[in-house]
């Protein structure tokens, strides 16, 4: 038996023993997701137990180094971990922007002290993070952001407004892009971390077309941020921001989510599938979806060993989000009028319709599809003047 086979056997046995049966059920909605954090209420005992067991072994962030709360798995082992999780349909023990976005940025740009402190908190699900990037006047043109941090010696005083801050009302801390030099566009931005309970921080949920409010407006009114809470150098926050955006785009693309070969055609058939043209559309979609799942696997394999083009997350984000919008259009068509239900218990409070509407943001948030295509043109295809 090879080392990897032995490792697989070990993981399989551990999962068998430690993953509670309730945590092997498919995630139905956001309520089933364990986000962690100071304000988080566990849905049930199984969810809490699953998080604790995984965190104790470093399995909430299996490929992070052990001193930072991970299990220190190499790329091949991490793949085995994902495969074994998928095999039993295990839910991720913890989902968070800390894992997907801030963590990778800290691993690359953080000081040793910051890594030990913040990464362990993330790995144990103690602190829930939100992202302060977009502003009312700075969407696709993010670098024009105006939120300003005035230098007061040992701290900055931050004033301004962020928008589309996901779960700002539920988060404990924020990683935030703040202008610390008004004269320097790209090199005048700093990447700051601060507590959302700091005096002067307030949030206001934004009601979306889905009827839900996953995003907030976030206001900073003379918020004091100590100087040691900066990641990277003063004025070099844009480098951190861009690196992190790569990970955000990877996350939104859905790559590596679930490689079990489920098709929406098979799902739609449960409600009867009588229209041959709809069946054909579903089949064409499933070709693209299964193809993209192979792309997701290849992308993760390549990124772990540095073979992926550095701008490839932009392609993944573009393709993955456009695909997800198509998926939900077809699920609505397959569901017929029943998919229009908005409130009933039986429809899980309009789950289909709300999810469908939510996906329309996929190709806007984290960089629009059009911006992704610009980046591919410039950085991968090297087209002129792009």
């Amino acid at each position: 038996m090879s080392d990897l086979d032995a490792f697989r056997a070990e993981i399989r046995a551990w999962l068998e023993e430690n993953c509670p049966p309730e945590m092997r059920e498919p995630v139905r909605d956001d309520d089933d997701v364990c986000w962690g954090g100071r304000k988080f209420k566990f849905k049930n005992e199984a969810q809490k137990l699953w998080l604790e067991r995984c965190a104790a072994k470093g399995y909430t962030v299996p490929d992070w180094p052990k001193p930072y709360g991970g299990a220190g798995l190499d790329p091949a082992q991490a793949k085995v971990w994902r495969e074994e999780m998928n095999r039993i349909g295990a839910r991720p023990p913890l989902s968070s922007f800390g894992i997907w976005m801030l963590g990778p940025a800290l691993l690359k740009f953080g000081s040793e002290e910051q890594k030990v402190h913040y990464l362990n908190q993330i790995a144990r699900g103690e602190i829930r993070w939100c992202q302060g990037y977009s502003e009312p006047g700075s969407g696709s043109d993010l670098v024009s952001l105006q939120t300003f941090g005035e230098d007061k010696g040992d701290h900055w005083v931050v004033n301004g407004q962020k928008i589309w801050t996901s779960y700002a009302d539920k988060a404990d801390w924020i990683f935030c892009l703040v202008r610390t030099d008004k004269a320097n566009k790209y090199q005048g931005i700093s990447f700051l971390l601060f507590d959302m309970e700091s005096p002067g921080v307030s949030t206001k949920p934004i009601l979306l077309i889905s009827g839900n409010s996953p995003f907030c407006e976030t206001f900073f009114d003379n918020v004091s941020v100590p100087k040691h809470q900066i990641v990277g150098e003063v004025g070099r926050g844009w480098d951190v921001a861009k690196y992190l955006l790569g990970h955000e785009r990877e996350m939104i693309s859905g790559a590596g989510g679930n490689d079990r070969l489920n098709t929406i055609g098979a799902f739609a058939k449960r409600n009867g599938l009588e229209d041959p043209l709809l069946r054909a559309e579903l089949a064409m979609f499933d070709v693209d979806a299964l193809a993209f799942s192979a792309m997701g696997e290849k992308f993760l394999d390549e990124i772990k060993v540095g073979k992926a083009h550095p701008a490839q997350p932009n392609m993944m984000k573009y393709a993955g989000t456009e695909l997800n919008k198509r998926r939900h259009e077809l699920l609505m068509a397959a569901g017929g009028s029943a998919a229009l239900e908005w409130e009933s218990e039986s429809s899980n409070h309009g789950g289909k319709a709300r999810s469908w509407l939510r996906t329309k943001a996929n190709s806007i948030e984290g960089g629009t599809s059009e911006v992704m295509l610009n980046v591919i043109s410039k950085r991968i295809l090297d087209l002129p003047g792009a």
Binding site: P75, T263, A280, M284, A294, K307, M315
Partner: protein, 379 residues
């Protein structure tokens, strides 16, 4: 297994790329043999060079004198064939017929494999009986006769049929036309009495043969694998042919795409390089995305096939469908972005469009394979 090439595979890719660019390029092969109106549509000298490189025996077992490699490696060669539009009998002989012969008796192997390995023989595979790929239906009959079988029926658009020294023929030894069981594969030599063909030239300068089998008498030892039980071998041949065609499609797409992005960086209109226009940039970037996905799908299918995975059949259909779709987009965008010169015979971009159309049809098009994906998924 990670979805990228191992070091050995990357070396093979380098070798194949260099070889095909030097020896198999469009001017030396496709245009030359097209313009002299060669009846085979490819050069036998190049086929001998394929043999010297070891390519002809890439899927032939080491015990039989081949390289004993898999569909990933065959696909590496096919991608370069696609990129250079190299006309050759590689896909039908070294991929499909070789996959069939792997299930054959030692006697049949001894009769046919040395010629393949030496680059002296060309093989074709005769399955379909109409203009669309429909391997589920086999109407050609093989009746027991004397010591062997007598084959009667017809096969349509057999690729390389006209130049083949031997055809692998799927015929029915039992049951009705649409039955799964009752199919048998035969190795039919080109000089068999009662075998005739009408060879037609296709849009991409390749040839397709309409094959007539008029009471072709074969000895029992011409049977490949089991009598009545040929479907399993046939499915292996189809999978290898489909994923191989998908790999070649990816090569066609990449060749066309590279030519097109190069053109976008050279051609000026309105005082600008046309690659500066966002209308074209976004289309090129979308195409890039589709091609990357197609390429990932093809290597996934190749690996599953080589590993004997039960998911292989599904992913092979996904790969053939996706590669066909992406390559179709690549050649259509290629011609459009080249503008007027894209319509001329002098420029190569149109040749990519022609080859893509033929490959799209070969071994089942997007619609056939999307339907198969639906069926395999239970709807």
């Amino acid at each position: 297994m990670p979805l990228y090439h191992t070091e050995d595979q990357a070396m093979l890719a380098d070798t194949a790329r260099g070889f095909m660019a030097d020896e198999g390029n469009i001017a030396k092969q496709l245009r030359h043999f097209r313009d002299i109106n060669c009846k085979d549509g490819f050069g036998h000298a190049l086929w001998k060079q394929f043999a010297e490189m070891g390519f002809t025996g890439i899927l032939v077992g080491e015990a039989d004198g081949g390289l004993g490699m898999g569909n990933v490696e065959a696909g590496i060669v096919l991608e370069e064939i696609g990129r250079n539009l190299t006309p050759s009998p590689f896909l039908t002989s070294s991929v499909m017929a070789a996959t069939a012969l792997a299930a054959a008796s030692d006697d049949l192997k001894g009769r046919y494999l040395p010629g393949l390995l030496a680059g002296d023989s060309v093989f074709a595979v005769a399955i379909d009986e109409g203009p669309k790929h429909r391997p589920e239906r086999i109407a050609t009959r093989a009746e027991r006769s004397g010591n062997g079988f007598k084959l009667s029926g017809s096969k349509a658009f057999v690729v390389q049929g006209g130049s083949a020294d031997m055809l692998v023929v799927a015929a029915r030894t039992a049951g009705a036309d649409d039955d799964q069981d009752g199919v048998t594969l035969f190795a039919v030599p080109k000089d068999a009495a009662g075998l005739s063909m009408d060879v037609v030239r296709l849009v991409d300068s390749s040839q397709g043969a309409h094959v007539k089998l008029d009471a072709v008498q074969l000895d029992a030892d011409a049977v490949i694998g089991e009598v009545d039980g040929g479907r399993a071998v046939l499915n292996r041949v189809l999978n290898a042919g489909r994923v191989g065609a998908a790999a070649e499609s990816v090569g066609v797409a990449m060749g066309s795409f590279e030519m097109t992005t190069t053109y976008l960086k050279q051609r000026k209109q309105f005082g600008k390089l046309i690659g500066e226009f966002q209308a074209l940039q976004h289309r090129a970037a979308h195409l890039y995305s589709e091609l990357e996905i197609a390429r990932a799908t093809v290597i996934k299918a190749q690996q599953l096939l080589d590993a004997g995975s039960e998911k292989a059949e599904l992913m092979v259909s996904v790969a053939k469908a996706k590669a066909g779709k992406a390559a179709g987009l690549a050649v259509k965008e290629g011609v459009q972005m080249h503008g007027g010169i894209g319509m001329t015979d002098e420029y190569d971009i149109g040749l990519y469009m022609k080859r893509d159309r033929a490959l799209a049809e070969f071994m089942g098009d997007l619609y056939y394979h999307a339907d198969k994906v639906a069926q395999l998924s239970g709807y």
